[in-house]
């Protein structure tokens, strides 16, 4: 929204007149009812469960309904170590979620492999196969950190434009909503990463030092 319109809006609200835009209203509704998938992988999942319980109470942010089916979920919280054997299932669950969908990579393991990085069985970060919206460091992150990540995601949803070239993926029919599921190869997962997803900030595929 243009700055003068924003000023006008503030000025009107001072005089008891509330104005909004369709975009704001739409995003306000979306950001306050993000339903996560009931999906835990390791010890981070225990912190995720604690976040939903009375003490930290994720329900304050409209995310109390953990859905047991990916078809009903908006958010997948990858909470824990993703083993190579589990990775195809995580990608498949993500593919089964309807748009708009978001990913939080929770904890050191989900973002990079963490302390198990050098293990033969551990995927070195779920961002190799699915696009991650918010990364949370920590081992495991405290519930406050997950809440902070959740608020970061809400801010991201709030800022999404409904039209224009930078509109989000779910409003752009040209962008994919499903990503290739890796297969079990002779020595590891094939391919070892999705080159379209596993990129740096400018969109170039991340090079791997041989």
């Amino acid at each position: 929204m243009a700055d003068d319109l924003k000023e006008l809006k503030i000025e009107l609200s001072k005089n008891g007149i509330f104005t909004t835009t369709l975009e704001e209203l739409y995003n306000w509704g979306r950001k306050n009812s993000v339903w996560p998938l009931t999906f835990g992988l390791a010890c981070c999942a225990i912190e995720m469960i604690a976040t939903t319980m009375a003490r930290y109470d994720l329900a304050r942010f409209g995310a109390e309904v953990f859905r047991p089916s990916p078809r009903q979920a908006d958010l997948i919280i990858v909470s824990g170590t993703v083993t190579k054997k589990m990775a195809p299932q995580v990608v498949r669950l993500y593919n089964q979620m309807p748009e708009p969908k978001y990913v939080i990579a929770m904890g050191a393991c989900a973002i990079s492999g963490g302390p198990f990085r050098d293990g033969y069985n551990v995927l070195k970060g779920i961002d190799r196969y699915i696009p991650v919206d918010v990364h949370i460091p920590g081992c495991p992150p405290r519930p406050e950190a997950l809440i902070h990540a959740f608020m970061t995601l809400q801010k991201k949803i709030e800022d999404q434009a409904l039209a224009g070239a930078d509109r989000p993926r779910h409003l752009n029919a040209d962008l994919p909503s499903e990503f290739p599921v890796p297969s079990f190869g002779a020595h590891g997962l094939e391919p070892s990463s999705n080159r379209d997803i596993f990129t740096d900030a400018t969109g170039n595929p991340l090079k791997v030092i041989q």
């Binding site: 054997k85 033969y120 069985n121 190869g185 002779a186 070892s192 791997v208 030092i209 041989q210």
Partner: protein
Amino acid sequence: MLPPVEEIKTQIEAAIPGATVTVISNGSPSAQHSLLLDHAHARAVAEFLRDHAEWRLDFCSLMTGVDWPDTETSEKIKVKKLVKAADGSESEQEVDEVRKTKVPGRLEAVYHLFSMEKKHGPVILRMRTADRGEGTHLPSLTPVWRSAEFQEREAFDLYGIVFDGHPDLRRILMWDGFVDYPMRKDYVPPPDDAVLPEVHS
């Protein structure tokens, strides 16, 4: 009470004709010496230990694999040799020579046995494969102790020890199409997997 391992070895060899049992001593303070079994009589020895009236080793609490890669030891020895001096004359002198000995690698299976009935243990059994390549076969002790079933599958999966006589020998942790044995010391992970992406370095 369990007798010392030497006594167990003597009794096994007395009870099972042809069985050769070697005591492998453990020099650490725990002094948990173990018994190395030969392949042909391992099953009979296991049954003997399980059914022995006084020992009743009825519980195999742990079974695991060990990888011993090929090693090379070098020792310095003094050798008498003809040495040419600067003026052309030859004389016999003692010369240091390094002699290298190659010790071929092998895989090992270790079993820890306890008795639930007599409340004692452990007795430790070992078996060694011929090498780390083709001859990685060992007799399975799952028919004697059911608790070894999954752990023998794990040793098969991660070390590549083939247990003959195992009722259901399949990979248990890695997927079926996987060809490596990741717990072997010479395992190399796939190249674009083991290293950090540039952004993280």
